[in-house]
């Protein structure tokens, strides 16, 4: 038995000590996020995970089920990573709106965490598959409800639920654009401006200010004083 035990790397892999199943899930999430379901190959996934090609079939059955599992895995990790703020009672609705927007932008654009998880979920949002409905129910709808509640309070409970939803979607859309079409935004905006005015904190201020002004609760974006700068969120 002169078979060469060419187990790829015992030390060079990301985390060789973990279960092969977890390593496959990690590598699959990254590959699917980067290239999409069709273009990602199980061979590349297994190479990155340091396992044999047969392992994906052994642990997950086939490529489709591996994909669904990796989406759910990334989703659950993300929920634990960036939870919504836990506002103490009495926190003003306007402050909660700003926190909510900042949280959403940080989750979508923040560099503090590996980007592939959000990229993977974005793919589901943009081109839904079987994993999408679960994602919406567990992850997106609760967040949406929180935003609607904040807006309801901000508007003094004078607006219809349908109108609140439209305003909520307007706010989400502004954040969504930067995540989904960030490359095009980068082409439309000078690069120096991009680095200074289109960062998550700056955008959170802008989106919040825009919403409050539209609701008649803040200073309008355009009046005689705004040409310089409207003070953002005071520390």
């Amino acid at each position: 038995m002169a078979t060469i035990r060419s187990h790829p790397e015992h030390a060079a892999g990301p985390k060789t000590a973990e279960d092969p199943r977890d390593r496959i899930l990690l590598a699959a999430g990254q590959e699917f996020a980067e290239h999409g379901y069709e273009a990602a190959t199980v061979r590349d996934i297994c190479l990155a995970a340091g396992v044999n090609v047969a392992a994906v079939n052994y642990y997950f059955g086939d490529k489709r089920r591996l994909y669904i599992e990796s989406v759910k895995h990334a989703h659950e990790a993300r929920v634990k990573q960036v939870p919504l703020p836990d506002w103490p009672p009495g926190t003003p609705a306007a402050a909660r709106l700003h926190d909510f927007v900042a949280n959403m932008l940080e989750r979508m654009l923040g560099f503090s965490q590996p980007p592939w998880q959000v990229r993977l979920m974005m793919r589901e949002v943009l081109h839904p598959t079987d994993a999408c409905r679960e994602l919406v129910e567990d992850y997106i709808r609760p967040h949406f409800a929180v935003l609607v509640a904040i807006l309801d309070e901000l508007a003094g409970r004078t607006l219809a639920e349908s109108e609140l939803r439209r305003i909520a979607l307007s706010i989400i859309g502004q954040c969504f654009l930067y995540r989904a079409a960030g490359d095009v935004v980068g082409m439309l905006v000078p690069s120096d401006e991009l680095a200074t005015l289109h960062t998550p904190p700056q955008l959170a201020d802008h989106v919040t200010r825009y919403a409050l002004a539209a609701l008649g609760l803040g200073r309008p974006l355009a009046d005689s004083l705004t040409s310089r700068s409207v003070p953002g969120i005071a520390p």
Copy 2:
């Protein structure tokens, strides 16, 4: 041979509907829009176009060049199909803003034209390839400049260019969400509400009203509370 019949050189009358090159471009645009570059197959494209598989190589060289040509083709067709309104001098800026938003929504969501052209361009925006930069320069940037000019006039030329760009992106983001994440929006909003309040005309009204209110030029969306202060945000 690597010779490509890139364009029919003979000056004879173009048989528009029967030219194999055009039939391939049409079918390719639909297939690429539906399934994406990787998942679309040359065989399906040729089947739909009613030509032999060798034709795509004969006319375009390879799949990649066919893709780029089909994106440009769809783009040019779209520009001719839905041009920007030609406002007579003196048209109020607010009216032009509403027209602009309605035009953009109609172009993105309208049912009056085959949807695959916009779907194809959306793919480029969401996951740029070689064809993207050309698309931005020829198609998106001029529209963006028109929107910025409208906003500049609306704000009485008091806002910095950078601020105008941010507001413009806010407006575009709201429209973009419905196009790119329409499926998720459909899950978050009751279906009856979707059919009545989230149509292109209704959305155009909403987005315009939202922007005008934020600029302090229209009635706030929640106008019963305009006198209330906003603790925690504005000084």
